[in-house]
């Protein structure tokens, strides 16, 4: 038998069983590297980039006041900020799920005039500076805002500088993450399953609940986790729209920023908590949902 051609390193790996999809990317590198020296023009900047990304995090770990960590974590104002952050991010995620999943469905499944424009608009908060988002929210929902005025006059509801305001600011900034993720999952899902359900007598609502949603659930979960993480770290829109009042609107990122001025060690502890939360989310995403799709 003639030796296999060297320019087809991927071939043998394609024969593996379908169940081993997850590991295939890693395994195919084993022993079949492209021959030749690594180009330093790529390796040096790559290493520099890695150091640049990892060093600040390492610094956070090195400078952390490990001996006093338990007391500092248990400090009332830290617990308060943490509790507020978790509650607000979770409620904001729930709001995003409630509104964002139907919106994603609309964008993915219903063709209507101006759909491309709507899709572009949905992603605006993604690239908008959060502070600008906060200003925009104030202009609309502030006490003198277009809708805020009416809300206060008719129902006596004021949103700015309240916990509800924090939730609104976080949902505003985080919802695009959910919509994009769910819409992508919906577009990737085979619509013929929905047709099959229709031939079995399922209305569009039943199809959505019993077929579409279960099939795109990984995308919904991934989107919700990203959305929650984004909401948890929200700073600019929150401080602009909801202010910085301990107990009602001072979330973790705000507390970190404030503590940096007065009590740097507390800031490190708070940052550490946020870092741990982020890493846990990332790890759970990679293992359970991202690599599976």
């Amino acid at each position: 038998m003639s030796p296999s051609p060297p320019n087809q390193p991927g071939r043998p790996e394609q024969v593996e069983s379908p169940g081993s999809r997850r590991g295939s990317g890693r395994r195919s590198a084993g022993g079949r590297e492209v021959a030749g020296r690594l180009p330093w023009m790529l390796v040096v900047p790559a290493l520099a980039g890695l150091v640049f990304l990892v060093l600040p995090l390492a610094g956070l770990l090195i400078r952390a006041p490990w001996s006093t960590l338990p007391q500092r974590l248990a400090a009332p104002h830290v617990l308060e900020a943490l509790r507020l952050s978790l509650v607000c991010a979770s409620v904001a995620t729930a709001v995003c799920l409630l509104l964002g999943v139907p919106l994603a469905w609309l964008l993915a499944r219903v063709s209507f005039p101006g759909r491309r424009l709507v899709r572009a608009l949905v992603t605006v908060p993604l690239v908008l500076p959060p502070v600008v988002g906060g200003v925009a929210l104030l202009l609309v929902l502030g006490r003198r805002g277009l809708v805020g005025q009416w809300l206060e006059a008719s129902f006596g509801i004021t949103l700015p500088f309240t916990t509800a305001g924090v939730i609104m600011a976080e949902a505003f900034v985080a919802m695009p993450f959910l919509v994009i993720s769910v819409e992508g999952a919906l577009r990737g899902a085979d619509q013929r399953f929905e047709e099959a359900a229709a031939t079995l007598g399922a209305s569009r609502w039943t199809v959505f609940c019993r077929v579409t949603l279960p099939m795109v659930m990984p995308g919904v979960v991934a989107g919700a986790v990203l959305c929650w993480a984004r909401a948890l770290g929200e700073f600019g829109a929150t401080i602009t729209f909801a202010g910085n009042f301990p107990g009602t609107t001072r979330t973790m990122p705000l507390a970190v920023y404030l503590a940096l001025e007065t009590e740097p060690e507390a800031a490190i502890v708070l940052s550490l908590v946020l870092l741990v939360v982020s890493v846990v989310i990332l790890a759970s995403l990679r293992d359970r949902w991202v690599s599976a799709s």
Binding site: D190, R192, F193, E195, A196, A197, A198, T199, L200, G201, A202, S203, R204, T206, R210, V211, P214, M215
Partner: protein
């Protein structure tokens, strides 16, 4: 059953930029009609239009005297088996079958009871808890059939029900499917490109090419008297269109002597096995003899199929031994003959 002779009456018109489907379809209760045709002929489009998944551009669908085309897919009393089954991957086999009854408002317990009974009928009582990915191709096909029957449809639609199966499973599933279709008392329309599936499963064939019906009839009738090259190829016959006169049938330059004596435009068909090949012109009996040219040779089952060009193009099936004796190579001349009694002529 005599009082309602026609269960389904449909005139399907679907217009697309480069394709038009225009098809009239009548199916009696309990009858199985197969839509047979090459890829892109419009078979699946017709089925989807019946199901309400593809909108009609014109025509109508009437099922048991009630208009169907005005209803959305989820309100039509149909059951559909899709080519790759489309079993819901997140539901067990039982819940897949119970899905339809649940949508019709039947209670959960009752739906599951009905689903279990249906699974038992298709011989899968033991696989009720299995997820679709744990089922073999043949099992998935039977679950898909049970799921379609669970809604008690008046019209059963099957899209290439056996195409996704390997040859061995296919044989077994085909005979089971035939039994289940015989038990079903509504109208059945099935789509296939496999003549064998159509012959075994259907009471009547409708052959579609380019969106229009080219031939219909009982399977035996279609197999014996093909009317297009596509059908002739499917049933394995050489087919020619000619004009019959007193002496025989004129096909192009060639005069073919046929068993039947007819007048006017006719089709002449004969099987490839009826064609005999010779190196030199055969003498004697009054046969149809013409000089042909070998175009190619291919294996065909245990025999060899020789593609012939000449006054008429034809297939000839000969044994490998005969091929060796004749020493045929492409491009070479050869004499071909067919006995008149082996030809079959019928009005065009």
């Amino acid at each position: 059953m005599g009082e309602r002779a026609v269960s389904l009456h449909a005139h399907l018109v679907v217009v697309r930029p480069a394709f038009t489907l225009d098809l009239t379809l009548e199916v009696a209760p309990g009858e199985v009609v197969a839509l047979l045709g090459p890829n892109g002929a419009g078979k699946t489009t017709a089925l989807r239009a019946l199901a309400g998944l593809t909108p009609l551009s014109g025509g109508q669908i009437v099922l048991r005297g009630r208009p169907l085309h005005t209803l959305p897919a989820d309100s039509r009393p149909i059951g559909m088996v899709f080519q790759d089954y489309l079993l819901f991957p997140h539901l067990s086999a039982l819940d897949n079958v119970a899905f339809g009854p649940r949508c019709q408002g039947v209670s959960k317990a009752e739906s599951r009871r009905a689903a279990a009974a249906l699974l038992e009928r298709v011989g899968l009582a033991g696989r009720a808890a299995a997820k679709p990915r744990q089922l073999s191709g043949g099992q998935a096909q039977r679950v898909a059939l049970a799921r379609a029957l669970a809604v008690r449809p008046e019209l059963l639609l099957l899209d290439e029900p056996l195409a996704a199966l390997d040859a061995h499973t296919r044989l077994e599933v085909r005979s089971q499917l035939r039994r289940h279709l015989a038990d079903f008392d509504g109208a059945t329309v099935l789509v296939t490109h496999d003549p064998l599936d159509a012959m075994v499963l259907a009471d009547r064939l409708i052959v579609i090419e380019n969106g229009a019906v080219v031939q219909q009839g009982a399977p035996a009738e279609v197999a014996r008297r093909p009317r297009t090259d596509y059908v002739a190829r499917l049933v394995g016959l050489n087919l020619y269109r000619g004009v019959a006169g007193g002496a025989g049938v004129k096909v192009g330059e060639l005069l073919l002597h046929t068993y039947e004596e007819l007048d006017g435009p006719v089709f002449v068909a004969f099987p490839p096995a009826a064609v005999a090949l010779y190196r030199t012109r055969p003498d004697g009996s009054p046969r149809n003899v013409w000089q042909a040219r070998v175009e190619g040779v291919e294996r065909h089952g245990d025999n060899v199929r020789v593609h012939l060009d000449g006054p008429i193009s034809a297939f000839a099936d000969i044994t490998p031994a005969a091929l060796a004796d004749l020493d045929l190579t492409p491009g070479e001349p050869v004499w071909a003959s067919v006995k008149a009694v082996e030809t079959h002529a019928y009005p065009a």
